[in-house]
């Protein structure tokens, strides 16, 4: 059968007869890799551009149209030692990138304006105490207005838009007081300039915007980076399917290019990417990802298969009934949307602070104006003083207080293997006091392991591992990995659904079902109810290998660490009871439930919520996606299904479970610092308010108060960088 790979879905025209493709590449981390890849790819004739992006771990390639097959690039990268997959930018990530660039542009304009307005302000400040002519001062003020007004109109858009959105929804957020403050400061400055007054506040207003944009940009950049990493992981999982393009010809195409009615081939060891019906073949399939049930199901002609199920033993031909927008997934997605909507009511810390802060500030300003009028001052002087209060209390440091901590904390989490999907997950994670673990793939490792390797002679185990390399069966893959073998046995034959056999030194060796190896007698002496059993025979010698998902190496220590922090722990698993009991017992978790459906999980989470608990859900698998969204905050191992990764607030990498504790610790510390920052910002402003009310505020004091508090808050945020204590 002829197999081709078809990546045309990912190729786009780059104009002038060139074509462009983006590839996500695994394992690029230094200048050496970069140079190696760029040189290796540029050496291919007709390639006009090969550029590595080290931040996003991607390669952009361009070549003359019609001369090269994109699959050849992937092969070339494979020869160089890098695993690559075509990458398609998700719309969410594209939005983040565009937003990030927009903020950087605004920041550039605001910073330019700040520097130039300051350059004009300092002569005015010093001139006011020396011998500056009023005409010169007016000239400098007009010049400042000329720079500051267009710059603020351009660079203030992120805030004005957000404030407008909030106001038209009849709520307030941080951007409302910011927008009011900036507009008032600029408006008043223009009026003062017209009236030849001594002070104008163009510098304060535009500097405020600059500082706030720094915070906004940091926040945005952190989210963009996480999205890029998550997007790459999705691409590396290569959601492709083998589609029949002729009676005997199949082509490996991305799932997005598959339509209902197509026929796809599902080989042993492959994960099904579509919903459909079996039209030919017979096999066992593992649907644990969808149902949580770990026992294999037999699939034969007419049986339905769902996206996400793993084909175990035989080859199937499947007629597609629903492609990427699969029916079963649609049902789960529906649950998901409901749950996500429920959570979006949660308010960010900064917005809550703004809700308290804004009325206080506005009331103070109003009282100041009235107070001065009552005290006998003119309306003009009273209004000037009131606006000065508004400017000096403008939440510049408040705007930085949260994003700077988020950025620094997310960097610290990144180093301990945790990626943040949303910035305000930190605040919610810090509050979590009850953790629900899914078992399969979360407490246990997603891949299989040989549990009784120690009972088997090393040379026999190695031989079994070498033989296992010739099979596509996931259990065989686990044996091969456990044995750490690299060289397959030449001439090994795989019998579908049975096992592999080969002849070595005149002795027949077999690996597969116990019956295939003539080892039924040994297998009956049941080892572990959980394990898949494979037999290995060498001539007359027979062995039994027990293969199962092992607990994560540090699971026990992590559970103990969580208990130390007085966090409630329970297991909710869709798996069978004996398996759940075994895990709960091994880890010392008293509370567990087995055989739970996705709806049951949500019900349990709601029940806990009703009791006032803040639930952290740690799970993987499509069946967990709705409960991840329903929980107060959620985490998912990176090996999980794409869907649950996308819904989890945080994802973690690697084999250990320790990132869960590390993330909780970092989040708690970060929340502490955020609160501290908010108080610092408010406290600093409170000190400055009496000065402002007394009516002696000059722009110099306003500028000093603003930058002083901002710098203080930024320095405090840096404390989030220190690594969380080692927990396990």
């Amino acid at each position: 059968m002829l197999v081709t790979r078809d990546f045309s879905h990912y190729v786009r025209a780059a104009g002038a007869g060139f074509q462009h493709i983006d590839l996500a590449v695994e394992g690029v981390h230094c200048a050496g890799c970069m140079a190696k890849i760029e040189r290796g790819l540029s050496a291919i004739p007709d390639v006009t551009l090969a550029r590595v992006n080290l931040t996003d771990r991607r390669v952009a390639l361009e070549w003359k149209e019609g001369t090269l097959d994109p699959a050849s690039f992937i092969d070339r990268l494979g020869e160089l030692g890098y695993k690559a997959y075509p990458y398609e930018t998700e719309s969410a990530e594209a939005t983040e990138v565009a937003e990030s660039r927009f903020l950087l542009r605004c920041l550039g304009v605001a910073a330019f304006a700040t520097m130039n307005v300051m350059m004009l302000s300092i002569p005015v400040w010093s001139g006011n105490v020396s011998d500056m002519l009023p005409e010169q001062r007016d000239f400098f003020h007009w010049l400042s207005a000329l720079i500051a007004l267009p710059a603020a109109a351009y660079a203030g858009r992120p805030f004005f838009r957000s404030a407008w959105r909030a106001l038209s929804n009849k709520t307030t957020n941080m951007d409302v007081p910011i927008s009011i403050g900036v507009c008032l400061a600029l408006g008043m400055s223009v009026v003062e300039t017209v009236n030849h007054a001594e002070h104008a506040y163009f510098d304060a207003a535009i500097m405020l915007l600059t500082f706030l944009l720094v915070g906004r940009f940091l926040d945005q950049n952190m989210r963009r980076r996480t999205r890029a990493v998550a997007g790459n992981l999705a691409a590396l999982k290569a959601e492709t399917a083998a589609k029949f393009v002729g009676p005997d010809e199949i082509s490996q195409v991305p799932v997005a290019a598959i339509h209902p009615g197509d026929i796809v081939l599902l080989r042993p060891g492959e994960r099904c990417a579509v919903d459909g019906t079996v039209i030919e073949g017979r096999s066992e399939i593992d649907q644990s990802l969808i149902t949580g049930e770990t026992l294999y199901v037999t699939a034969e002609q007419g049986a339905p298969v769902y996206a996400g199920s793993m084909n175990i033993s035989g080859t199937l031909r499947v007629r597609v009934s629903a492609a990427s927008e699969a029916t079963l997934l649609a049902e789960i997605t529906r649950l998901l949307d409901n749950a996500l909507q429920a959570r979006s009511r949660y308010m960010r810390l900064a917005d809550r602070a703004a809700r308290l802060y804004a009325p206080v500030v506005h009331a103070t300003a109003l009282i100041t104006i009235l107070g001065w009028v009552i005290a006998g001052a003119g309306w003009h002087d009273a209004v000037v003083t009131g606006v000065a209060v508004l400017i000096i209390t403008c939440p510049c440091a408040l705007g930085l207080a949260i994003p700077t901590v988020q950025t620094v904390a997310s960097g610290a989490m990144f180093r301990s293997g945790v990626l943040l999907n949303s910035g305000h997950a930190i605040e919610r994670l810090a509050e979590a006091d009850h953790v629900i673990f899914d078992k399969t793939g979360t407490l246990t490792l997603p891949d299989l392991d040989v549990t009784n390797a120690a009972d088997i002679p090393a040379d026999i185990f190695e031989l079994a591992g070498r033989l296992a390399l010739s099979s596509h069966h996931p259990v065989a893959a686990a044996v091969a990995q456990a044995a750490g073998t690299r060289s397959p046995i030449v001439g090994a034959v795989e019998e579908a659904g049975q096992g592999v056999r080969a002849v070595v030194d005149g002795v027949q060796i077999r690996l597969g079902r116990p019956s295939f190896c003539g080892a039924e007698a040994l297998a009956v002496a049941g080892l572990d109810p959980e394990a898949s059993v494979v037999a290995f025979s060498k001539g007359a010698e027979k062995f039994i290998l027990s293969v199962r998902q092992g607990l994560r190496p540090d699971a026990q220590a992590v559970i103990a660490a969580l208990k130390d922090r007085h966090i409630g722990i329970e297991i909710l698993s869709g798996d069978r009871e004996p398996a759940v009991i075994a895990a709960a017992h091994a880890l010392g978790i008293a509370e567990w439930r087995a055989g739970v459906t996705p709806a049951d999980k949500i019900a349990r989470i709601e029940e806990l919520k009703g009791r006032g608990a803040k639930v952290l859900m740690v799970g993987d698998g499509m069946n967990d996606a709705p409960s991840l969204a329903a929980a107060h905050v959620s985490m998912s191992p990176i090996s999980a299904a794409h869907l649950s990764q996308a819904t989890a607030d945080l994802v973690f990498l690697g084999r250990p479970l320790a990132p869960v504790v590390a993330a909780i610790d970092s989040a708690r510390k970060a929340l502490h610092l955020m609160r501290q920052n908010l108080w610092l910002a408010i406290g600093y402003n409170v000190l400055a308010v009496p000065v402002a009310i007394s009516g002696v505020v000059t722009p110099l004091i306003a500028a000093a108060a603003m930058s002083g508090s901002s710098i203080l808050v930024m320095l405090n945020s840096l404390r989030a960088r220190s690594r969380a204590r080692e927990v396990v």
Partner: protein
């Protein structure tokens, strides 16, 4: 004080030139890969055949 007639426009021009340079560098994608740029500076020089800066 007539010197202001030259100095103020000159200062503004310089500022605008800086802004223009920043916007140009942003548009030409120089902030897309900050990690990579740091390493590229110390990479061995070899005539990279068509390694032009990323242009769209």
């Amino acid at each position: 004080m007539e010197i202001l007639v030259f100095l103020v426009p000159l200062a503004l021009m310089l500022g605008l030139a800086g802004l223009a340079a920043f916007l140009w560098s942003l548009r030409s994608g120089q902030y897309d890969d900050l990690d990579g740029a740091a390493w590229r500076a110390i990479a061995d020089d070899e005539p990279p055949p068509q390694d032009a800066p990323a242009k769209r």
